[in-house]
């Protein structure tokens, strides 16, 4: 089993490691990341990415996780020995969101474990400060 992690979710799926590559078939890919390949396009519920010319992603029903990440233009960190990989968000997506100046929404807990969502404070001016004990 291989654990595929994104912000806020993780999924343990069937995958094999071969020469440093993480290989999985269509169903585990769909389970882990919500993406399916249809006629040269990699789609989930909200977006579709066409495969670049000459791409052999998914040939023989086998997907290289690194190639999936590259096709999605998303950063991937892998530890084959530990059986885990983290799929991050692209700089393009983050830059576009920040450049729009719409404050990206999030939900985080307080010390009591109560969740707070930034957008619920619309209507007030928000002074947000990130700090740490370090």
């Amino acid at each position: 089993m291989f654990t595929v992690i994104e912000a806020g979710r993780e999924c343990a799926v069937d995958a094999r490691v071969e020469g440093g590559r993480v290989l999985l078939s269509a169903e585990p890919l769909r389970e882990a990341l919500g993406f399916e390949l249809h006629e040269g396009t990699l789609c989930n519920d909200t977006m579709c990415v066409p495969l670049p010319a000459g791409s052999r992603l998914g040939e023989g029903g086998v997907f290289d996780l690194g190639e999936v990440a590259a096709t999605l233009d998303r950063p991937l960190a892998v530890d084959t020995a530990a059986g885990a990989a983290f799929l991050g968000v692209s700089a393009g997506e983050r830059a576009q969101a920040l450049g729009s100046l719409l404050a990206p929404d999030f939900t985080l807990p307080d010390l009591a474990g109560r969740p707070h969502t930034l957008s619920s404070y619309r209507g007030s001016k928000v002074f947000m400060v990130a700090w740490a004990s370090w």
Partner: protein, 204 residues
């Protein structure tokens, strides 16, 4: 420090939201309890906000208006002058600026200006965050040995990101105030690079 500001301004439809980029709620707890905030004091152990907002050090503050728009992007704002002798950053002017904004006396930056002041993340920054995300997950699942090279790699990919380079230290059992931190800072400063990068009108 922020509690006084919040109490002063809360009937102005103004809220402080503090986000602790700490390895656990327990690390943040003593500081939060001492501040006894009535504003949201949140804990972000997976550095979600650092990723969303391209935050690379603490303390970092930004202003978001009533419509959810960023009107002052990432800035270095201390609540007190406790560290002034190290940082050379005084708290009075930025705090006066927040007050004036909260009271409606000033408006924050216009969109073009705000965009001009944003530091946007690069592909390397995001790769570093993926490595940190993996390392944090591994550490949280008891795999400190597996996590370590990913923490190191993250720091190599984004050497200016101290939420990674210093923020990972408590997770790795390294004292974030100790010799490894001091060495890191000295090496950074020796390259002529500032540890804090306030906005021009904060730096003065």
């Amino acid at each position: 420090m922020w509690q006084a500001l919040y109490e002063e301004l809360r009937d102005r439809r103004f809220v402080v939201i503090a986000v602790a980029l700490d390895k656990s709620a327990e690390d943040a707890r003593p500081w939060i309890e001492k501040a006894a905030p009535t504003y949201p004091a949140l804990v972000d152990t997976q550095h979600v906000v650092a990723d969303l907002y391209n935050i690379v050090n603490v303390p970092t503050a930004l202003w978001i208006d009533e419509r959810g728009r960023i009107v002052r992007p990432n800035d270095v704002v201390f609540g007190t002058d406790t560290f002034k002798h190290i940082t050379n950053l005084k708290s009075a002017r930025p705090l006066a600026a927040v007050r004036a904004w909260a009271r409606g006396e000033t408006a924050g930056f216009a969109p073009g200006e705000a965009r001009g002041l944003q530091a946007l993340p690069t592909a390397l920054d995001q790769q570093a965050r993926a490595e940190f995300g993996l390392a944090e997950w591994l550490a949280r699942h008891g795999e400190a040995g597996a996590a370590e090279p990913h923490f190191v790699r993250a720091g190599e990919l984004a050497p200016h990101d101290f939420t990674i380079r210093r923020g990972s230290m408590p997770i790795r059992g390294i004292d974030p105030m100790g010799p490894q931190f001091r060495e890191m800072i000295q090496a950074w400063a020796a390259g002529g690079r500032p540890y804090y990068r306030p906005l021009p009108d904060t730096r003065g």
